[in-house]
């Protein structure tokens, strides 16, 4: 039985459809990250799971139980908010205990639970303070404590790290991951930061304009994006997406990528592509991530299919741990990630190598992967 199951969920606001038919299932102990650009509906989806917003059609099941019409406090969920939403007039201990108080849990039990949670999160020394006296990271912990103490079936996180500075964000991310591993709770987590998504999730759901673009493991999302949007959204720097054309001649199929002032790059078909769909003359979009475009010497030794070509270097960006080298193909920039000590110079020709194991093809009309 899945911990969370969403079937055919739709939400309309007047004439506008905000969520267009969402189907997701999450196993117990899983960490589902809802990711997408602003306005894609991820927060709305989270709110419908919580019961803070209603749905127009579809079904939400938590632990096998249909919760569509249940009040948020009856769904056995807990939520951590972007602004932490701590009650300013109560102490930390009172904040954590408030939910239990509302449910009529006796005082001694409440105090025990609060103490337990405070120990796990190392906030025992803050129990008598007010939220205004805490730092951002401490408030975040208190918010998590309030959620933990409820021992819910599903934890919901709504962009909890957005208000923290970069370093604190990394620390708290590790903390959340550790807590998840230790407690084995089921988590639904909303973020616009795809790095958070990749590092925390067991399952990622990419949303755009209220529609699910792809649901899968981080590996699947990253290496086998099902459409152009997912390919472009995940990964930093973004995947290279170049216009190309399929040619079939003498039984051999090739991808041809034109270049201005240079002979075109000719490549064998990537393994990931479904060759039955590739007819002669078909326009495609060739996608390859910068880390799969290298020096011939640095290419992955286990790669089965590698193609090299020469190109003129336009920009060199030394980034400390790597060097990003930019050239041009099909009228667009092509970014390669090379070793930091590579000998590259602007304006010179250099040999680039594509690791075609990692390449993917897309249909420009439908944006879907081929």
């Amino acid at each position: 039985m899945a911990a969370l199951e969403i079937t055919g969920l739709r939400k309309r606001f007047g004439a506008l459809e905000i969520l267009k038919g969402i189907d997701i299932s999450l196993e117990k102990g899983g960490f589902l990250v809802l990711v997408g650009p602003s306005g894609c509906g991820k927060s709305t989806l989270l709110n419908t799971i919580a019961g803070l917003e209603s749905i127009s059609s579809g079904e939400i099941r938590i632990g096998g139980q249909v919760v569509n019409d249940l009040h948020p406090s009856k769904r056995d969920i807990a939520m951590v908010f972007q602004s932490y939403a701590l009650y300013p007039n109560m102490s930390v201990a009172e904040n954590i205990a408030f939910g239990m108080e509302m449910r009529g849990v006796p005082k001694t039990e409440r105090e025990k639970a609060v103490a337990g949670v405070a120990k796990t999160l190392q906030i025992e020394h803050l129990l008598n303070r007010r939220p205004s006296q805490l730092s951002g990271g401490q408030r975040q912990r208190v918010a998590m404590g309030r959620a933990l103490v409820r021992q819910p079936r599903v934890f919901l996180f709504d962009e909890p790290l957005s208000n923290l500075d970069a370093k604190l964000r990394v620390d708290m991310r590790v903390e959340i991951k550790r807590l998840h591993q230790e407690t084995g709770t089921t988590v639904v987590y909303v973020t616009h930061d795809q790095i958070e998504a990749m590092t925390l999730a067991t399952k990622i759901a990419v949303l755009k304009d209220g529609e699910l673009q792809q649901v899968g493991t981080p590996n699947e999302i990253y290496n086998s994006p099902s459409n152009l949007f997912v390919a472009d959204f995940m990964g930093s720097p973004a995947m290279n997406l170049l216009d190309g054309m399929v040619t079939r001649a003498n039984g051999a199929s090739k991808i041809v990528i034109d270049r201005h002032d240079h002979p075109p790059i000719v490549l064998p078909l990537p393994e990931s592509a479904d060759s039955s769909k590739l007819s002669d003359g078909l326009k495609v979009i060739f996608g390859i991530r910068p880390e799969a475009v290298n020096d011939p010497e640095s290419v992955d030794r286990n790669a089965k299919s590698v193609s090299t070509f020469d190109a003129k270097v336009e920009i060199v960006e030394p980034a400390g741990s790597d060097t990003y080298v930019v050239t041009r193909a099909a009228g667009k920039e092509l970014t390669a990630r090379m070793r930091a000590d590579t000998e590259v110079h602007v304006g010179e020709n250099h040999t680039f190598a594509f690791n075609l194991d990692k390449a993917v093809l897309f249909d420009p009309q439908s944006s879907r992967r081929l």
Binding site: N47, L52, E53, S54
Partner: protein, 315 residues
């Protein structure tokens, strides 16, 4: 200040709490009952002003006028008695206008300049200066009546001397001028407060850029601050207009008689002890007194509210 006021008028963004129908009925019921209570005095005032006197004294105040008449209004405007003169209220309305317009203009402009200096040309002690001007908003006017009466008396004497010497008083001792002076002085605290809070949030970088471009103090004020100050001007003007038009204490103390403002005349008309109390005329007079500020409120209520919030909620 604007944040709070906008929060008041902004649409609530939370998902509707699901109230049961009975709760909603109770809520709407209460609100409507209160609305009726708030409106009733005004409605009664209007209806009474349109009734002939026997209907007022003999009838029920809540009933619609049986013999609707505008005679009370004509009387209020033209023949009601203020003390011994029976010329209606029209002259006194004009007195109020003569006093309000200069007072509002002067106090607003001074407030703008003060706010500008206090926020963009800070000097040591600026907080103390502002604090002192702010406290001046809250003093009970009773504590300045005697000295003010003395000073205005002296000004009157100067005016008399000038009249004897040159035939003109140059405004000295003129009751309307006195009232303008009084209202400007005691309005400065509020106008400065409004503009100071507004300019506090105005980007100082714009001022610095203008200084680098070589603009002078007044040029910066005229070309950069003023064009962007429309909202606060409206708020301040409305606030000052309402307060000064509605004032009674200063008017009755310093401008008794023919130069009284509207509010004093209204009070005298209502409280003449001679003869029969003409309730309908009194009500008509009261409405005439209330109309200018009510119209301002209806047309520009949003700014009205902002003014209240500015004086009350500090940021």
């Amino acid at each position: 200040m604007t944040v709070a006021a906008d929060a008041l008028t902004a649409a609530p963004s939370r998902e509707p709490t699901r109230h049961s129908t009975t709760t909603r009925v109770v809520i709407y019921g209460l609100l409507i009952v209160f609305a009726i209570i708030y409106l009733m005095p005004l409605v009664v005032m209007v209806m009474t002003s349109l009734k002939p006197l026997d209907e007022v004294t003999g009838g029920n105040m809540l009933y619609f006028p049986h013999d609707l008449t505008f005679e009370p209004w004509r009387k209020a405007w033209g023949t009601a008695c203020v003390g011994l003169t029976c010329d209606g209220i029209k002259g006194y309305v004009w007195n109020s206008v003569k006093m309000v317009v200069p007072a509002v203009i002067i106090s607003t402009l001074l407030g703008a300049l003060n706010g500008y200096v206090l926020t963009k040309w800070r000097f040591p002690g600026h907080k103390l200066v502002f604090g002192m001007m702010l406290f001046a908003c809250f003093i009970p006017f009773q504590s300045v009546l005697i000295p003010m009466a003395t000073i205005l008396g002296k000004l009157g004497e100067i005016g008399q001397t000038l009249i004897d010497a040159t035939g003109y008083s140059f405004g000295f001792g003129n009751p309307t001028v006195n009232l303008v002076l009084v209202h400007v002085v005691y309005g400065l605290g509020f106008t400065t407060l409004f503009f100071r809070n507004y300019y506090e949030t105005f980007p100082t970088e714009l001022i610095k850029a203008a200084q680098i471009d070589g603009a002078s103090f007044f040029q910066i004020f005229r070309r950069i601050l003023l064009p962007n100050s429309a909202p606060i001007f409206i708020v301040t003007v409305i606030y000052q207009f309402t307060n000064i038009w509605n004032d009674f204490l200063f008017g009755s103390t310093f401008a008794a008689g023919d130069s009284s403002p509207m509010t004093v005349a209204l009070y005298n008309i209502v409280n003449t002890s001679t003869g029969v109390t003409e309730y309908n005329v009194n009500m008509a007079t009261a409405i005439i007194a209330a109309v200018p500020t009510l119209v301002v409120y209806i047309l520009a209520g949003r700014y009205f509210v902002r003014g209240l919030m500015a004086g009350a909620v500090k940021g």
